[in-house]
Every structure is written in structure tokens, then in C-alpha cells.
Subunit: 458 residues, 2 copies
Amino acid sequence: MTIDTALSRLTDLLGDRLSTSDADLALHGQNETYYADTPPHGVAYPETTEEVSEILKICHDENCPVTAYGAASSLEGQHLAIRGGISLDMNRMNRVLAVNAEDMNAVVQPGLTRIALNEELRATGLFFSVDPGADASMGGMAATRASGTTAVRYGTMRDNILAMEAVMADGTVIRTGTKARKSSTGYDLNHLLIGSEGTLGIITELTVKLHGIPEAISAATCRFESVEDAVNCVILTIQSGLPMARIELLDEMMVRGFNQYAGAGLPEKPHLFLEFHGSPAGVTEQMETFAALAGDFGAEAMKTATTTEDRNALWAMRHKAHYASAALGAGKHIWPTDVCVPISQLAEAVVQAQRDAVAMGLTCTIVGHVGDGNFHAGLSVDPGNADEMARAKLFTGKLAETALRLGGTVSGEHGIGIGKQGYMDAEHGPALAYMRAIKQGFDPKNILNPGKMLPDNH
Amino acid sequence: MTIDTALSRLTDLLGDRLSTSDADLALHGQNETYYADTPPHGVAYPETTEEVSEILKICHDENCPVTAYGAASSLEGQHLAIRGGISLDMNRMNRVLAVNAEDMNAVVQPGLTRIALNEELRATGLFFSVDPGADASMGGMAATRASGTTAVRYGTMRDNILAMEAVMADGTVIRTGTKARKSSTGYDLNHLLIGSEGTLGIITELTVKLHGIPEAISAATCRFESVEDAVNCVILTIQSGLPMARIELLDEMMVRGFNQYAGAGLPEKPHLFLEFHGSPAGVTEQMETFAALAGDFGAEAMKTATTTEDRNALWAMRHKAHYASAALGAGKHIWPTDVCVPISQLAEAVVQAQRDAVAMGLTCTIVGHVGDGNFHAGLSVDPGNADEMARAKLFTGKLAETALRLGGTVSGEHGIGIGKQGYMDAEHGPALAYMRAIKQGFDPKNILNPGKMLPDNH
């Protein structure tokens, strides 16, 4: 019962689709943020659900940790095999299995990325809405309960997955949810697996909702004198019921990052990046309503991105926020944060974060899916600078405290992974024991992504 | 360790708010449908979360079953204490604790009914959308994962609860979810409790989403020559993306029921009952678009209910479907069914149900939240007529089979309770073992609503 025996049995099963090459191990041990490289012992490349099941049976027998791996775009190290064992690379299971246009859903494999899915949907007039920026894998997005820029209108992964197939710790294959739009039968295992970060089961198939591509789409940018003005404009916009498709905040430092990284040429003031979806008349009406609201908060006139190219360029830039933040300091890494608060508390939370960063001498960008009350303070850090790392940790702790005090959560969309385990008790209190009971019931040997999410998940 | 000891200890705790009067026991043993009367041993009337916690500690000590009781409007006997013990009557915990208009949510106690909530909200311009017909309690609606006529536009209870407080089997008080619009921290206990039918915990507080009352509302009825035409019109309406606020099917037999019960005076043909929400111009545009679609399916011109009174009368009538079905046979009870299928399969499922009822010699009404693919075949039965009851059971089994074959679910909104346990294995297969693991982890003594939902939950 060792990892070595598991590797040998997995080689018998998978042949050269069980890799232990240095390059493969190194690749699967990397991450986007500040966590140490942690190569696994082996990388398995399954091609079918049955293979995933066989792999888990072996690993379960041998007490070998299994950590699912998709696009490796997670920001809290969820895909890192920090207890060793197998990195289960799902990228060969990347097909669209069915597009049910009549029912507005698609059945996909977990290794498919969201952009690839939308490319396949091009001829249908439908699209998959969840857009976390990175070209993440569908399985990874489900496991992290991802959201992003369009969640304010179309919901997060929580709202967009009808059904899944998953392989559980001992290799059992289950189905959660149904293809019907709703159901009241039994415990909601579908939502339980969404956001479980690979600690309860391995997602092998997803049935996701699709939405009709709106007849008209317009994007715009809008500049404010202060972050408070921008955020208060967002609060009123949401409260007025305007069905924003995207409403993103960038603070002055974030704009500077875009100017340096992407030559954005924007005035270094707080901005909102916006998108409106609807009928042509509806979009015009929405934009006029928004412009009037924004004017009340002293906004400069909106700049509209009318062509598809301009719109795509705007969002492509927005999606590089992580790299644009990094560009503010040569050789720096970004320590991402991700709180979410009730919309009424958003101005207080954002302003507090800016003040704290200044007080702690940290370079910090703020960018956010503010329509949901979700924002990211991105700290520019040098992992070799112990003092700076300590200040970043302090900042993150204070931000989490603020979010919880204001009725929010320590993660809107990035999840817990390695980085936020320390806040689980503060956020969940006695409920944590029931999360542990679920983990214990589903994976008593703790082979699924050990060391993640639950604070004592060794 | 007996129920008697529990009753005695509960009397010490609650005084005369622990009742064992015959009238109270009888009242709490009744139900809306065809299940046998099953009075509990005692009825407890808690007034605070702390009292619920103390009650559960005692019942946990004494192995005394606890079944939550709200408006008793559940249709699968969820509120019946079929293993005896305590009926936990939540009706004294019926306050609105907070209305956060800025964040568009309200914090309420579980015994509050949905109509009482909407009355309290009247001055705010906001409303709570979920409308199952009955004036159900908020706790009961959460526990059953209820939905109803407006779910097609505003979602079910699954989509409208941000956070809850619950008391677990041993008296531990937990909080699930947050007041932020989204979160990615830990297992989704909020959705796990929604729809758990009181078998995992007792809901003591809910934070629910509110929606802005639309500027304009119009209701209408529309008559078709055949159920197929009506259903195919619904399918196309949904697929076209028209944001219907309500779209309800009534088959010819259901219309006959309304004529007999409520003097509706409607031609005995299949009807759709509709509601449109939006700006005045938007509602007009929606109605025109719908009318054009309906015309393609041979519909008679829509009749519009323009005044608030007419609209309320229409929906008040629709909400009496259960009683109108019963009116079709003197002294008959209604055996309700509740399947939900992907919208593309709806016509097949409805027509099959009608044919099966005729073939089995059953009087059957069909009414449905068809925009979600959800419909109810209401069988008129005499519980004393063993042959008729056997045919009703056969019909229900065939309907469930059809729903599952078409990719749907055996319950869209009524839940499992006593009546549908036999279908849990067919719908969930190996996933059922993971539901059992959750129940075992959360309530190892099985004191919470024993005998419900899970097929071997004795």
C-alpha cells in the first residue's frame, strides 16, 4: 500500500498515459500565484470515465492521493498535489458530447475549456455564459464554483450546471441532478459537488445551461473621480434593477497596470467597464438609463465600444488583470484576494482595502465583479521577501475580517484551496463540523485532494 | 430513553407549549392528500432558535423523533410524524426579522408564510417571488425545495435563499450561506439543506432574495384546440427566450374542474394562463410576440386580465387546482403527481400521461408549470377503493418511468416524503449511497423526520 505500488499498477492500466517524466511532474507542480512548486509523483491521463474509475479504485486500494488537474488556472493552488500522489490530468477528456439546442444545454467533458465550448456553439445562436477570465476547464470551473464578469446577469457555475457525472473516492460512478430545469428529489448532490475542489469526487461529465446570444450587445467604459463614486454608481445601478450583463470596477492602480502592460492609454482614474445585452432598443434604453445614473456620480461621458472587435479587445484587456497587476513591479508575483460582500457594503469594503494597502506599504490593484459585490485586491509581492509576504498575509487577514464583518464571504469565486483554509472557521463556525462529516462519509481515506479546503484536511 | 421521558422533559422546558391534547395531535396528523392520519405523541411550539436547540438536545438524548411542521401544505406527507414523537410546530416563529431593501433580501423566520411576507413588503416595491399556490411557510418551502408558477422567471427556492440558520440533530446551531450574492468557500450546506425535508436539520431562519415589483404586469388566458398545440406553443415560447413570468397549462379536464368548482365559465379546451412582467412597452412587446407564436399553434385570441383584481382572481383560481380537481368526483381525494422533464420532451410526457389515465380508467386533471417542463397529473381517488388506489399507483409508476426515460425527475417541486421513496433508487442509483452517508453523518440516531425521503430511512 504505497504510492510506488499505485504508480506501478497505474502504468499497467494506462501504459504511457501514466507519466513520471521530470517535465510532466514539473509542469503539473506549477501555479499562477505564489505557492511553492509541488510536483506530483505521477501524472495520469485518463480518456474515459471508466478509466477514471479504475484509477480511483487503484489509488483507493493503495492510499495514493489523487488531485484533479485541468487548465491549472486556479488561484488558490487547488490543482497542486501537495501531498504527492497522482495529478489526474483531465485534458484528454475534452469533448462536447451533445448540444441540446431545444433544451438550451450542452453535455461536455471536464477537460473542455470554456472558450473551446463557445467556439463549438458558434453556429447555434447559444453561448455558455460563465467567464472567469482565464480559459479555465469546465471541470475546474465547476469544482471551484467559478463565476466572473457575466455572473451578475447569468449566474455563477452554481446556477449553470444542471447535472454531472462524477467518480467518487472508491471508483463508484454517480450522477447528480437531472436534465430537467428543476427537481425536488433527495439531497442536492449536484450543488454539493460544485465548489468541492476535487475533495469529494472527480467530475467526469457536466450538463450546463446555455443562453441565447442577445440580439444586441454594447460595451462601454466610464470614468469617475473617485472609487466611492464608481462604487456608489454600481450600487444604485443594481438596486434600480438594470439588467447589467457586465459591470466591472478598476481602481486607479489597476488602470495604471493596464496602461503599462497593454498600452491602454486610459486616464489613471477609477473606471467601470460595462456591457449591455438585449434587443437593440432595450440596449439603447439600458445605456441611457445607466448614463443618467453615472452622471449623478460625476462620471465622464461613457465611451462605447460599438464593434465586436472593440468589445472583444476591451474584455481581453480586462481578463489580463492578473498579468497587468504583475506588470506594476518587475519580477513580482500577484497575491490575489477575492472577497464578496452584500452590495450595500461594497463602498466601505473597497475603500477600506485601498486604505489598508497604503498603510501597509503594499502595491495593490483593485478590480471587481462589483455588480455581485465581489472584488479582488491584487497584491504585488516578491515571495523571497519575507517582510512583504508577511504584510500581504496581514492585509489578506484584515480584508477577510472586513468581509465577514460586513456579512460577506472570504471568497467570491477563487475558492479555498491552500490559501484560505485559515478563514474557514471564522466564516463557517460550527457548520464546519458538518462539512467534515461529509468529507469523512464520502472519502474516509482522504485520497481526494488531501490538504485542501478543510483546515484539518491533512 | 423513551418518547414518554422526552415528553416529560419537554414539558419542563416549554410548559403548555408542549401539547398532548387530542385536538392538537389530531390536527398535526392530517394532510392534504391521501395519506392516513398519523397524529404525533406531542406537539412542541418553540418561540426561539435556542428553544429549538434545547428541544433537539432532549429529543436526541431520548431518541425521540422530531418532525417539523409549518403550514401542513406539503403534498407528500413530509410534515407527518409517521414514526411518532414530536411534531415541531414552527408557527410561532413567524416574524420578518429584517428587510434589507438595499441588498434586496429579507431575513425571516420559518413559520412566516409567503403571503404574510409579501404583505410586509408592500411598501418597499419589492416582492418574494416563489409561489407554490398554497400559502406555505417559508421553512417548509425551503425544506421541500418548492417552486410554483413564477419559477420559470424568478427561480425556485433553490435559487432564492442566500443563507439560513438551522438546528442540527444534536441541537448544534449552524449558519449556511452568506448575505453576499455568491461564495466559493466550502461545501454548499445551504443547498444541501434546501430540499432535505427536515431530515438533516431544522431551519430556524432564512435570508431570501427579493425582486423589484415590475413596472407593468399583464395576465392573460389563451385557448388551444389540443394539449399538443398548447405544449408546443410553450416549448417555442421558452426556446425563443421570451421572459415569461408565468406560463401555466390546464388541460380540458382541469378546466372542467374550475368550471365546476369556481364557476369559471371557460370553454372546456386546453388553456394556457400567462403573466408578463416588464416595462409598459416591454410587456406590450412580449404579449405581441407571444400572441404571434400562439397564433401559429391555432390559439384563439388571448383574453387579457388588465386590472389587478382580474389578475388576482385568475391566479387565485389557478391556485385552487387541487380543490377543483377534487370537485370532479364527490368525496374524492386527489392523488397528486409532479414530474418534470426537459422542455423538449414535454409534449410527449403530457400526452402519454393523458392516454395512460384514460386507459386505466382514472379521472385525471393536468396542470403544470410548463415553462419549466413541470406538470401535475391529479388523480381523483377514493382511498377506500383498493382497486382505484392500485390503478393510481400503477399510473404514478408509469409516469415516473416516462419522466426518467425522458431525462427528467420524479418530482419537480413536491418532494419525496412518504409517497415517492420507491422511485429514489431509479432516479439516483449509486448516488443514493452518498445521500445515506450524509444522513448518517448528520443524524446518526435518525431522529429527524424518520421514515421520509431515503427509501431505507426507518
